[in-house]
């Protein structure tokens, strides 16, 4: 099912610049309903609050990493079906395998282009 432009998207990254970049690209793609979180723990709390249709998360973050947040999301019955896209500088094969095992919906390596983000969103919401 194609992505609903009104769906609420959560962008999780400890770097304010990356959150702003992702938010800006999403806006250009037509997704204006975007919220932010600075780490996995904050992200998880927001997700458990409900209403989110999609998550874009970094991997390396203080307090709770993106991969730990992903595992927590997949272990929570109420939010486990939310698609999670990892956007990370961790480009090692083992990282990708770890993310796939944890239930990631797709994976982008930084630095990335707007086209790549759009392509991944289209794959997650065909």
């Amino acid at each position: 099912m194609p992505a609903d432009p009104a769906m609420k998207i959560l962008v999780v990254d400890d770097m304010s610049t990356m959150r702003r970049i992702v938010k800006n690209i999403l806006k250009q793609l037509g997704y204006a309903n975007v919220e932010e979180a600075e780490n996995g723990q904050e992200g998880l709390i927001k997700l458990q609050g409900g209403g989110f249709g999609f998550v874009i998360s970094d991997w390396n973050m203080p307090v709770m990493t993106g991969i730990d947040m992903l595992r927590a999301v997949r272990a929570d019955e109420t939010i486990k079906k939310i698609p999670v896209l990892m956007v990370t500088a961790e480009a090692q094969q083992e990282n990708l395998i770890e993310a796939v095992k944890a239930g990631v919906s797709n994976y982008i390596v930084k630095p990335f282009t707007a086209e790549t983000l759009q392509e991944k969103i289209n794959k997650i919401f065909p």
Binding site: T17, N24, I25, L29, G30, P111, A114, Q118
Partner: protein
């Protein structure tokens, strides 16, 4: 037997002298070691400052980029106004068609992000030329010409600029790794200061107790940055200011 004992005694004497020389050398190394320990927090602070500076600079570029994107939205609004104006003029139906096409291209472009910039510019140029040649709609032509100019100047690479700014995140991640290494080296140097301080002949039982506590605290900071007061305590306790 006597020869063996004599040889062993000589070997032990050499070993004792070697140990004494080594300890003296270590004592000599103490001062530069401590100076380095004191300078490392400054290095870490400079690295953290680097992250902050690049972050601030990146946000400023983003602010300007977003202003340009907002300007693009205004241009699109102007095109829609122009379309309405031409729509009300019954003598220019083909121009209205061209403007509708332009509007559709802009809408598609918003969805597809980069797509058909050149086609849009070409179509709008055609519209402007048509309106300029006609008896009516001269001011609409001016608006469209300005819009074309704004689009060609502002819009093409805005998204690329925005995404290129992700360099700051990658720089910050590397600086963070460097900061971690600096903190680790600092911790190890301070452990050496404490250990050598305990070996020193003037170390009192009180200093020995304090030093043991400090070593425990240093071990506890393995995963975090050390507090400056702990660093100062250790250096102060062993006679370094």
């Amino acid at each position: 037997m006597a020869d063996t004992n004599g040889h062993l005694y000589a070997e032990l004497g050499d070993l004792a002298r070697y140990l004494d020389t080594t300890l003296r050398k270590l004592d000599d190394a103490g001062a530069p070691l401590t100076t380095m320990s004191a300078q490392l927090p400054q290095a870490a602070t400079h690295l953290e400052g680097l992250t902050k500076l690049t972050e601030e600079g990146t946000h400023e570029v983003m602010r300007l980029t977003e202003e340009l994107q907002d300007s693009h939205a205004i241009v699109v609004g102007q095109l829609r106004k122009a379309l309405m104006a031409v729509d009300n003029n019954e003598n220019t139906p083909c121009v209205a068609c061209l403007l509708r096409e332009s509007q559709q291209l802009v809408a598609q472009e918003d969805k597809q992000l980069i797509g058909s910039r050149d086609r849009l510019a070409g179509t709008l140029t055609k519209v402007a030329e048509t309106l300029t040649k006609g008896q009516t709609g001269g001011c609409v032509a001016c608006t469209l010409t300005q819009s074309i100019h704004s689009l060609s100047q502002d819009d093409k690479r805005l998204i690329e600029i925005m995404t290129a700014l992700s360099f700051q995140d990658l720089v910050a991640q590397r600086v963070k790794k460097l900061t971690t290494i600096v903190h680790d080296v600092e911790r190890k140097l301070l452990e050496l200061v404490v250990v050598f301080g305990l070996k020193h002949e003037n170390a009192t039982p009180e200093i020995k107790t304090d030093a043991t506590d400090m070593l425990k605290q240093l071990k506890a900071t393995n995963e975090t940055a050390m507090k400056q007061n702990l660093v100062d305590d250790i250096l102060g306790k062993f006679g370094f200011n």
